[in-house]
Amino acid sequence: MAKILAVDDSASMRGMVAFTLRSAGYEVSEAENGQLALDAARGARFDLVLADVNMPVMDGLSMVRELRVLPEYKGVPILMLTTESNTEKKMEGKAAGATGWLVKPFDPEQLLATVRRVLG
Amino acid sequence: MSQSFSDGTAATQYLTVNLADEEYGIDILAVREIRGWTPVTRIPQAPGYVLGVLNLRGAIVPVLDLRLRFGLTREEYSGTTVTVIITVASRLFGIVVDAVSDVLDVEQNHVRPVPDMGTAVDTEYLKGLTSIGERMVLLLDADKLLQPQDAQMLDAALNAVDDVKAVA
């Protein structure tokens, strides 16, 4: 089963994402901020990264930029989880290298639908 | 040593204990454990039937003498004297009885109300009686034994004393 990295500083959001995906059979790792996510990503190969935008220490956009520098993360789908539904933010995410986004609030079904859409 | 006479209706298991020539049943779901009598630590200002407290794996548990609780005469403790640890409303307490005797399946429709007269014990602590052959078993209402309302009233009284002081 595909390995997914869930990155969010909010324990409840991270818990919801991880629980939903694990219930669907995915293998999920969690990270609290961009820096920890980078550390985790360097040690393992994830098939998908789901990341919040606003996080302390290292925000989601910086994390995406750093991830895309790593050769093994070229082409790996990275979705931003964001409440910012305005185009500007999405474009910032895209420019940083994100694959796409999932607009908060989302429920477990929407999350799964999106993840399945990306992982096929 | 379990006896039962089942006709298919709901049955409750009771642990029966002996006390002053009578047999009492305690709902087995309320019984936590049975242990031989060991001395307890006396507590000040306690009613006479509260013998004291014992250490049950780190929990401080009060122990009552059931004879004294029922206003019967006190008996010297012997080798058969046991402490039955009971849990009611997540509170633990022990009762000291002469001996444990049996485990019974008692069906709901075999439980009869307690007549007002004819038992040595105040009917307040009983929720019914049943009989097995010649034996009559009085079913204890475990909730009433420690009478938490007593304890609450006492606590309230103590707090009131302190509060009066605080307000004064």
């Binding site: 959001m13 989302f106 429920d107 | 000040p44 006492l154 004064a168």
Partner: protein
């Protein structure tokens, strides 16, 4: 997979949000003092997380409310608006309002109320628009066509961004029947081909009732990374790359009752750092090794190995002690979580009173037991209020006295021996002896102040009945007398002392035990029984001759200790212990001290000193006056722990009766 219940994440959401609100409040207060832009980011993040969580976990009212605050914060963050006192005030009220919403969420009540609605309007008005009722979705619905022709030419870098054209084609296929034609015209020569880049393009015919929006949604993520045109099947003409319309995601918010979570956490919880847990695991590892070592002796015991056995037992004792300390450490939390509330309190109070006060907090990282921590808040609030209300003077008065207009209030926590000390120090006017004496006379607490030392007069403020305020215990502690402060601290096994110099200020010193779970005590024999007397309350033990005791009217006994007469409490009488010594000269008198006074406890003798793990008597039984709890002795039996303050209270009551 629709079985994931969101309710299970509510408690975590509440906890993290309340922490976020605390952080927001602290940052707002720091911002008010001229803090930097990073604070605004922190505040924004906290609000943003709450909004996201509220929307996700089924609290739309909270999400909508927080959204307004977030918009305002966004303006601050972008520098479109400057931070001023009014904005900080508004945001502080927002924090309060959100706390109220969380309170209500935990008990399953409706979140919004008149107050939150008004505040929401105010936030919206500040941002520059009023809240409009959420209108129905207004999407420009283009009519469905019989089919579409899609020209899709990814830019070479699209693959690196994680978007796979095959996925897009797969999604299109769900909308209708596809005819796909690959366009190879941009394919470079093989030797120039970079396999991580995308060179193919596609012309796609989609037959079906799909709307343009549905197709646009498929390509939502690749806008800017491809050339795209979508034309109705009939009129394939000049293909202009279309601008992708922003898709509106309907907020699918489930309303999950919060009741399932509320009330399920009565036992409370402690967050424990990983390092503490790792330390425990290491210790358990050591214990296992020691146990294995000792286990060898079960198989064969040879006297020549006795030294090894002793070594093993010593090791076991050491590990057990360390383990005990580490486990107690889990309950230890920094006092900062209590101090946190003071910047806000001080700000609000000083603004109201027109005073200038600088608050200094030192030692926020000092740890103390969770139970102590929970109960020390209210007494501290009272002392802080008191210092600002009565201690620190108005600016003009301070100026006239040659002091800095701005008063200083210092909260400091530190370890001293086995205790935690919390000091509340102000540089205000100090206690006013004349005012205290006048009030004490008026209340009948004293007959005359002649010969009373300043210390004795200061102590009068702790007397029950000194405080005139009505005894309404609102959250801020207003109206509660100093006697209650002292009693709360005493109930925790601590003490309060006061030091004051006219014109220079007042210092309250609260001394608290590190933990309530373990105490050092002396075991005292009374007849056949054994009682534990907490070491902290013991002043001295003395052996009295019979003629050193004076009987007083009413049956009491007094003895002279240093320069005062103390009442004797015969423990065997108080507790009804059988077989105890009756003659004063046969036993021992322990002088014990509580805030409320000193007494001499008459016991048979001392058995020894020991650490006692405090167990509750109330858990299964009830409170017993004069007893604070129980402990388990080495032989497994139970010993009761004496509540010195309670005994002193009982004694003074008897005296009064």
């Amino acid at each position: 997979m629709s079985t994931v219940s969101l309710a299970q994440f509510h408690q975590v959401f509440f906890e993290e949000s309340l922490e976020g609100l605390d952080a927001m409040e602290a940052a707002l207060l720091a911002l008010d003092q001229g803090g930097d832009a990073e604070l605004v980011h922190l505040i924004f993040r906290a609000a943003h997380s709450i909004k996201g969580g509220a929307a996700t976990f089924g609290f739309p009212d909270m999400a909508a409310f927080t959204h307004e605050a977030e918009s305002l914060l966004d303006e601050l963050r972008d520098g479109r608006r400057a931070t001023d006192g009014a904005i900080v005030e508004l945001l502080l009220r927002t924090v309060d309002c959100l706390r109220g919403m969380f309170d209500r969420a935990q008990t399953g009540q409706p979140l919004a109320n008149a107050q939150s609605d008004e505040l929401r309007q105010q936030l919206a008005a500040t941002v520059g628009r009023s809240v409009v009722a959420p209108a129905g979705k207004t999407i420009d619905k283009s009519t469905a066509q019989s089919g579409w022709v899609i020209q899709f030419q990814p830019h070479p870098g699209m693959l690196a961004g994680g978007n796979d054209p095959l996925r897009l084609l797969r999604e299109l296929a769900e909308l209708g029947q596809l005819t796909v034609e690959a366009q190879l015209d941009r394919l470079p020569a093989l030797d120039a081909l970079d396999p991580s880049e995308c060179h193919l393009g596609w012309r796609i015919e989609l037959i079906g009732a799909a709307t343009r929006e549905a197709i646009v949604a498929v390509f939502e993520w690749v806008e800017g990374e491809c050339d795209l045109s979508i034309e109705p099947l009939a009129q394939v003409a000049t293909a202009q790359p279309s601008n992708i319309v922003e898709a509106v995601a309907a907020p699918a918010v489930q309303n999950v009752a919060a009741k399932a979570v509320a009330g399920s956490n009565d036992a409370g919880s402690v967050r424990v750092g990983i390092d503490k847990i790792d330390g425990l695991i290491d210790l358990v590892g050591e214990l296992v090794i020691t146990q294995a070592m000792l286990d060898q002796f079960r198989e064969e015991f040879d006297p020549s190995r006795i030294a090894l056995l002793q070594h093993g037992l010593a090791q076991l004792a050491r590990h057990t002690r360390t383990l005990q300390e580490s486990v107690m450490g889990i309950r230890m939390l920094p006092i900062g979580s209590v101090f946190n509330r003071f910047p806000r309190l001080v700000r609000d109070l000083t603004q109201k009173l027109g005073k200038l006060v600088k608050l200094e907090m030192i030692g926020e990282h000092t740890e103390l037991d969770k139970t102590v921590l929970e109960k020390i808040g209210d007494p501290l609030v009272h002392l802080v209020r008191n210092a600002i209300d009565h201690g620190l003077e108005m600016p003009e008065k301070r100026r006239a006295a040659g002091k800095n207009e701005t008063g200083t209030l210092r909260l400091e926590a530190f370890h001293r021996g086995g205790s935690i000390v919390v000091e509340i120090v102000d540089d205000g006017a100090g206690l006013n002896r004349d005012a205290i004496v006048a009030k004490a006379l008026q209340k009948g607490l004293i007959q005359s102040a002649d010969g009373l030392s300043d210390e004795t007069v200061n102590e009068l403020i702790f007397q029950p009945g000194f405080s005139t305020a009505a005894t309404t215990t609102d959250l801020s502690g207003r109206g509660v007398g100093m006697d209650v402060v002292r009693r709360n601290v005493t109930d925790l096994g601590g003490s309060v002392a006061i030091k004051s110099r006219p014109g220079a200020g007042t210092t309250f010193t609260i001394t608290l035990p590190l933990t309530l779970a373990i105490i050092d005590g002396l075991s005292a024999a009374v007849g056949e029984e054994c009682y534990i007397v907490p070491l902290v309350s013991i002043v001295e033990s003395v052996q009295l001759r019979a003629d050193a005791v004076r009987s007083v009217v009413g049956g009491g006994e007094l003895f002279r200790f240093r320069d005062e007469y103390l009442p004797i409490v015969r423990l065997h009488e108080q507790f009804g212990c059988p077989g105890a010594k009756q003659q004063i000269e046969d036993g021992l008198v322990i002088v014990v001290e509580a805030d409320t006074g000193r007494v001499g406890l008459f016991i048979d003798g001392l058995i020894g000193q020991q650490q006692a793990v405090v167990k509750s008597l109330e858990a299964n039984y009830r409170r017993v006056e004069g007893i604070s709890g129980a402990t388990i002795l080495a032989d497994g039996s139970v010993a009761l722990i004496i509540d010195v303050a309670g005994l002193v209270r009982m004694q003074s009551r008897r005296k009064a009766a």
